[in-house]
Symmetry: C2
Subunit: 497 residues, 2 copies
């Protein structure tokens, strides 16, 4: 049967000749195969030293194992026991060298990929044979285990594809839409928006900004205030450290805008660049690329991750929860796919981000209350045709995962609006219960030791606008009364000839 | 006397042997020295062809000149005349080669700098001798003139130093300050702020965000609404194109956060990076640096430049002015010098940016009205000890220039607050009349042809906070009544053990 199997040859480099300890070492190897390398495995399972040798100051071991005590873990167990034993002879272990390390992984087909630290990969009869090139440090850092996970993930994703989960939860009644144009085209025609100088970037004129602020007012009056939210200001430049903890570092790379600082702030270091620009009126990009540092992170992508640094490493009293906070202090940026670049899909966007934190029941209950408030806003105030669906959680999607979370209360609801001009739906916001993902990643604990959960919901102003304008058009008289009153008179301050 | 002098040897490459046109060329050279290369220069001045030669399909010319008709301009004038003349003989000019080009510049001392397109620079007796390495295209693009400007700028900046202008305009009465601590330390002690994960970056908790929003409310009620401002949303990722037009491209490099997009959004291209991260839990920065593109610009630095793209290239009717707009849609980022990193000097900050546009008298008049409103706010509502000073205009400082603007109405006022804890002053906002700088840079015109000016004023929330807390402390009961009412009860939602 093709099971996970490991074969490792390693050497312990000693501080001096260990001939005098040879008998003790021999006894240890026997004990290892009976006990030390079996611990935790079911009967008959675990690792085994199938060969060993002591030659002056080198002990060589050959280990075979199953998945219960993996050969590289067995090697670390052996080192610990050996160190204790040799210490009695005043001999130290200077280092461990991995001479050979092969892993056999069951698979129905070959995988043609370059995997880090894998120097050879072959396929034969239902199994993948890996030869690793790792050192002691990498074994301690669990690199071999992660290589196995990565390969299994790749095999699975090829088998089941990248299909995201989508399941309708609720939909509003169909409505009659007088307006059937592409809202972006109409917004441009009226000069409510103009292209910014960057890709997928817009400059929002006074009229549409007034509409966005009316959305903001609704969100404040109908959602944030009644539900007890308080405003904070989250940072907008996001270092790797944050994305490592939030999980984004697993898969964010194709979509992020990278941020690089100058290597130094010394004006003399930059004089060459300034001079070149002053003389040619062209920015010397290749020269600049040499003079900037490696990226320290990127521009805000998901908005709530950098908040969690506020709580990182803290233990918090139970009675302050549930906590409701939000941020609306800046833009988010994503390197989106080309093609359509209306306000429906942009590289730079403005979002109000809600975060709630508490015990699991508090978080789940709040998700329901928040859904009710949203429903009220979309039905009563904005009169939208919309629906909501249970989808692959955003944090799984952003980590390149598919399917659903393991716990059924954890997941994401996408809100979608009907777009009459293309007879299709547009996701215009979402709402997620993230389980213990963030408290776990940022090491935030409850004093009682109970589990801490969180949820978040991102309200994209451009998406709300795209959905609203697509259904209602840009003529104020066709907007729902309550909303029209809130917007007031649209400021018409620019005129273009 | 040591004056600006030019010496150039150039060759016109012709499409065929021009022997038959030699007499006509000779006549042209005579006419050039009498007329064509003298036009625009005072009597006796201009350029002169001191030698020329026609050898098959090459015409070589040696030109000497003063500053009135510079030798490289003379070469272009000659090309034009020659092209017309040779055209009659059905001969074309295929190209122009600069064989030798030296410039003599008066200077009291040598300049030891590497200058672009300068292959040699020597100093002798009151003059700098430059040998340029430029081609026809670069002459057309005025590279030699910009090299001269650059060198003169460097000589002057060394002579007069980099001292900024500072002239007191007004100061409030001294006040008695009960609070004398560093406000940042106190803010941290009370957990109103915590360090973000990035350099010079803070996370603002609910209490201080409430204070910032109270500042925002004052700005809205006392300044924006009474003065007729309308909100817009300016982009926050700023491409080079914008900074070339705003002038920042001259000198912003040591202080900016550079933004690089991925070379492609193809997930397969990034798989290697994701795999490395998944296996090691470390982000492979060197590999990423290879996979990202050259910087396309940077994170928002001065806030108003990207707005001007909204008006770029437009001609606007006179009667829509003056126009007052503002933006508060996101953060600004500067790579600041190390050392003190309280909320007084940060790499990431939140600012409300006011822009006004109109004819010169409208812009100057509005600057005065705005100053009155600020005075009212700082004296009546916030009860601050402050002063204002006339300084090197921000747009000159950010282009690496010193001194004052040429027109006396154009310039910057810095607002400074007294900081009791260090017995020093902190610039907490500014206000500038920018003259025609932006309309000029972005090619915005008035229908009447009259000049268009603009002004801007940046209100940094962190700076307002630093100044206010430094003078008033963090205890609400010590704050001015009107402000305390506006803030209301501070939300105390987090408790840390």
């Amino acid at each position: 049967m093709n099971e996970l199997k490991f074969h490792l040859i390693g050497q312990f480099k000693l501080s001096s000749d260990a001939a005098k300890a040879k008998d003790d070492v021999a006894k240890l190897m026997v004990k290892a195969n009976e006990d030390i390398l079996r611990k935790g495995a079911p009967p008959g399972g675990g690792a085994e030293v199938v060969n060993w040798n002591l030659d002056e100051n080198i002990i060589t071991v050959e280990i075979k194992s199953d998945r219960y005590v993996r050969a590289h873990d067995a090697l670390l167990r052996l080192r610990r026991s050996l160190a204790a034993l040799l210490g009695e002879h005043h001999i130290g272990i200077r280092g461990v060298v991995i001479e050979e390390f092969t892993i056999q992984l069951p698979s129905e087909e070959a995988l043609k990929k370059k995997i880090p630290f894998v120097k050879d990969m072959r396929y034969e009869e239902g199994k993948i044979l890996l030869t690793l090139d790792v050192d002691e440090q990498q074994i301690e850092n669990r690199v071999p285990d992660r290589i196995i996970n990565l390969i299994m993930e790749k095999i699975e994703s090829r088998k089941y594809g990248k299909k995201e989960h989508w399941e309708l939860l609720w939909q509003s009644k169909k409505k009659i839409h007088k307006f059937r144009e592409d809202p972006t085209k109409e917004l441009m025609k009226r000069n409510w928006i103009k292209h910014g100088a960057g890709r997928g970037q817009w400059i929002f004129g006074p009229q549409i900004t007034r509409v966005f602020r009316a959305f903001g007012g609704i969100i404040e009056d109908e959602i944030l205030r009644p539900l007890g939210y308080h405003e904070m200001m989250f940072p907008k430049m996001v270092p790797w450290e944050v994305w490592k903890r939030s999980g984004h570092a697993k898969a964010i790379y194709p979509e992020m805008y990278y941020v690089c600082p100058p290597k130094t702030r010394d004006p003399e270091y930059w004089e060459e660049v300034m001079d070149y620009y002053k003389v040619t009126q062209e920015v010397p990009l290749d020269l600049i690329k040499e003079k900037i540092d490696r990226p320290i992170g990127g521009m805000c992508y998901a908005q709530c991750p950098p908040f969690w640094v506020f709580l990182q490493g803290e233990t918090l009293p139970d009675d302050i929860f549930p906590i409701f906070i939000y941020d609306r202090s800046g833009t988010s940026h994503r390197y989106e796919s080309g093609g359509i670049h209306g306000i429906e899909r942009v590289d730079e966007f403005n979002r109000i981000e809600l975060v709630w934190i508490g015990k699991p029941d508090q978080v789940v209950e709040h998700s329901e209350r928040l859904q009710e408030r949203y429903q009220h806003v979309f039905d009563e105030l904005l009169d939208m045709q919309w629906r909501k669906a249970w989808v692959t959680p955003w944090f799984m999607a952003q980590e390149g995962l598919t399917g659903l979370a393991e716990i059924k209360e954890v997941g994401t609801i996408d809100y979608e609006a009907y777009m009459p001009y293309k007879n299709d739906w547009l996701e215009f916001q979402n709402l997620s219960v993230n389980g213990n993902k963030y408290p776990d990643g940022f090491n935030v604990k409850l004093q009682s030791g109970e589990e801490l959960w969180s949820g978040c919901s991102g309200i994209g102003l451009e998406r709300w606008g795209a959905a609203f304008f697509a259904q209602k058009g840009l003529d104020v008289e066709n907007w729902p009364d309550k909303f029209r009153k809130r917007v007031g008179e649209l400021p018409e301050i620019f005129k273009f000839l």
